[in-house]
């Protein structure tokens, strides 16, 4: 900069001038952000080590002790219980990640005005945002992959538990790439909400709520993300309706010889009316009614275990697409409000 001051600053740093100093400033900006959130980082890493250690450790214990996963002792029961409920971590994680990015990482800086200091200490708004996206993304990628692996280890021996099938809420997420996609989206959405709302607590709540709603929505449309398989046969509907570890049942019912599905509504009504007069009449009336309408056999729609990965990939693609939109919107918002390249 101005040469007039060079004589009175013996401790002046000696980094080279010109474009070459950009990496140094970038490193400084990253270090500043890490130092700013060092406690959050420490706590996160400690929790990660704890959870991964317990999950993987349980598997190691089971293997080492040679206990059968079907054994009815306290240790195995606890491990089985944990294998079922540990998956809830994957449902909660995106909410926590999103809230952290929206609040402490971005919203709080805008609320308290510290961004004014950062952006006039030679850090451009774009770089400021990039660091606040890149740091949590790095942590999320490493953390979620470790959690995925250790969760698979934990669940391994209990994979046949029909009450904890692959398609159930947290378990579905914990087993595949969608868990990572949810957390990536949480980072991007958290950033956008933080920039829009500019209030720490409010943006945390909004982001967590939005991620929760999105997860609910996705779990409702998930079955339709990949073509359904269909079984046809005398017992198909009944088989599909039962909870199973490998089969994710959807629709089930009756169809005629041409394969046309028959709406059971009218027959159900008729059977209900008949059973008021004669309690044991329901089944016979219903079956006769359906037969009169041409029902010859049953069908069951379901996803098999083989559909797990395709569904995960389609869902992940949707989530990552949304994340990309949120990132583009965030940079656009920053540019519109605060201007400035460089």
């Amino acid at each position: 900069m101005s040469g007039t001051t060079s004589t009175l600053s013996p401790e002046r740093t000696t980094a080279p001038a010109g474009p070459a100093k950009a990496p140094g400033a970038l490193g400084g900006a990253i270090r500043a952000a890490v130092r700013q959130h060092k406690w959050a980082l420490r706590i996160t890493l400690a929790l990660l080590v704890l959870v991964v250690g317990v999950w993987a450790g349980l598997r190691v214990w089971l293997e080492a002790s040679g206990v059968s996963p079907d054994a009815n002792n306290y240790g195995v029961r606890s491990a089985k219980m944990l294998a079922k409920y540990a998956a809830d971590v994957f449902s909660v994680l995106p909410l926590l990640v999103g809230a952290f990015v929206a609040g402490p990482l971005i919203g709080r800086e805008l609320e308290s005005g510290t961004y004014k200091m950062a952006w006039t200490q030679s850090m451009s708004p774009a770089r400021w945002l990039t660091i606040r996206l890149a740091l949590p993304l790095t942590l999320v990628v490493v953390g979620v992959l470790l959690l995925n692996v250790s969760y698979r280890l934990l669940r391994g021996p209990f994979i046949d538990d029909p009450l904890a099938g692959w398609y159930q809420g947290g378990i579905y997420q914990g087993l595949g790439p969608a868990s990572l996609a949810y957390c990536v989206l949480a980072v991007a959405l958290g950033a956008l909400v933080g920039l829009l709302v500019r209030r720490s607590v409010v943006s945390m709540a909004v982001t967590a709520l939005a991620m929760g709603l999105l997860a609910t929505l996705m779990s409702n449309v998930r079955g339709g993300l990949w073509p359904m398989r269909t079984d046809v046969g005398p017992e198909a509907a009944i088989v599909t309706a039962h909870a199973q570890e490998t089969r994710w049942g959807h629709g089930a019912g009756w169809q005629d010889a041409q394969g046309v599905r028959i709406d059971p509504g009218a027959c159900e009504n008729a059977a209900s009316e008949a059973s008021m007069k004669r309690p044991d009449a329901y089944e016979s009336v219903f079956e006769k009614c359906m037969a009169d309408r041409g029902a010859t056999t049953q069908y069951g729609d379901y996803h098999s275990t083989a559909d797990f990965l395709p569904i995960q990939l389609v869902e992940s693609a949707v989530l990552l697409g949304l994340a990309a939109l949120a990132v583009v919107a965030s940079y656009g918002l920053l540019r519109t409000r605060h201007g400035g390249r460089a």
């Binding site: 900069m1 101005s2 007039t4 001051t5 009175l8 600053s9 013996p10 401790e11 002046r12 740093t13 000696t14 980094a15 080279p16 001038a17 100093k21 140094g24 400033a25 490193g27 400084g28 900006a29 270090r31 500043a32 130092r35 700013q36 406690w39 308290s112 005005g113 510290t114 961004y115 004014k116 200091m117 952006w119 006039t120 200490q121 030679s122 850090m123 451009s124 540019r335 519109t336 409000r337 605060h338 201007g339 400035g340 390249r341 460089a342």
Partner: protein, 304 residues
């Protein structure tokens, strides 16, 4: 002609599509090396203007150059002390200054920053959240001056300081700026705070610059007349006139000498000049030649 520290032409900022214009039709030029007071009532648009200069607020319209560049491109050359003195509260003073050093490789003066902190008797290990208002201002100022800015922007820097600390910090600041030739813009709504310290003046009201230029020149461009009630010559711009009985005082521009009439003529004080303008919104704006923006050079860069 050397590059101006600031050059604004038709600058405007509106918050939201239907909001009020916080800065409007704002045009002025500030030569390098000046200590400039940006004064005006609360809500005049001073903070928004400073935010635009600092590259924090994107102008809705107009042209703005800071050290000949867009504010975004001049980030390394300017420092800004926002009104609320934002610093990371969880950092110690030492960590704060280290951050300054790491964010400004190649143009950070560690010795200078440490000296400013030391002069306030502050322990570098103290957390920022434990500092008093004045101490906090001092640390924020050290962070600003440590990066050796060519342009230092200060938004109401002394508002939360007691008179003694104010005096001390102001002296500190002016000495540092004088030593390095830094251009300084200090905003305030308290006129007395800046009198005597600033050689350049910008009076801002309703988002516009109403007076701009060297303080001396602005003062000598005006005259305070007092005498019996008389008609003032048609060629003279009257900023404000007051009649008390048969006696009359008026603050006028010396744009058509001689003033004529049976007046006692004195040069107004800075306070009289500023107050007369603030009380008379109809008085035309006045920029001295050095404060007139040159046409922003074509091709000097993309719009801010």
């Amino acid at each position: 002609m050397s590059i101006a520290a600031i050059e604004a032409v038709g600058l405007g900022k509106r918050y939201g599509r239907l909001g009020k214009w916080a800065v409007q039709d704002c045009s002025f030029r500030l030569p390098q090396g000046q200590i400039c007071a940006l004064v005006g009532p609360n809500g005049a648009g001073k903070s928004t203007l400073l935010g635009q200069l600092a590259g924090l607020v994107r102008p809705s319209r107009g042209e703005l150059r800071v050290m000949g560049k867009t504010p975004g491109a001049a980030r390394q050359q300017l420092a800004f002390l926002a009104q609320e003195k934002p610093l990371y509260p969880q950092f110690t003073i030492e960590e704060t200054l280290r951050m300054g050093q790491e964010l400004n490789p190649g143009h950070w003066d560690a010795e200078r920053a440490a000296r400013i902190v030391k002069e306030g008797d502050l322990d570098p290990g103290t957390k920022v959240r434990e500092l008093s208002g004045g101490q906090r201002t001092r640390v924020a100022l050290a962070l600003c001056l440590g990066k050796q800015p060519d342009l230092l922007l200060l938004d109401e820097p002394m508002a939360d300081l007691d008179p003694l600390a104010r005096h001390q910090l102001m002296g500190n600041l002016l000495a540092e700026a004088g030593e390095s030739g830094t251009t300084v813009v200090i905003s305030s709504h308290i006129l007395a705070e800046l009198e005597g310290a600033c050689d350049y003046l910008l009076l801002m009201e309703n988002g516009r610059i109403r007076l701009g230029g060297e303080t001396d020149e602005l003062l000598s461009a005006h005259a305070l007349l007092s005498g019996p009630v008389t008609e003032i010559g048609a060629g003279t711009t009257v900023v404000e006139s007051k009649v008390t009985g048969r006696h009359m005082t008026a603050l006028v521009r010396r744009d058509s000498e001689p003033l004529g009439g049976d007046w006692e003529v004195v040069e107004p004080t800075l306070e009289e000049l500023l107050l007369a303008h603030m009380r008379s919104p109809q008085a035309p704006a006045l920029l001295t030649p050095s404060a007139e923006p040159q046409a922003v050079r074509a091709g000097a860069g993309v719009a801010a």
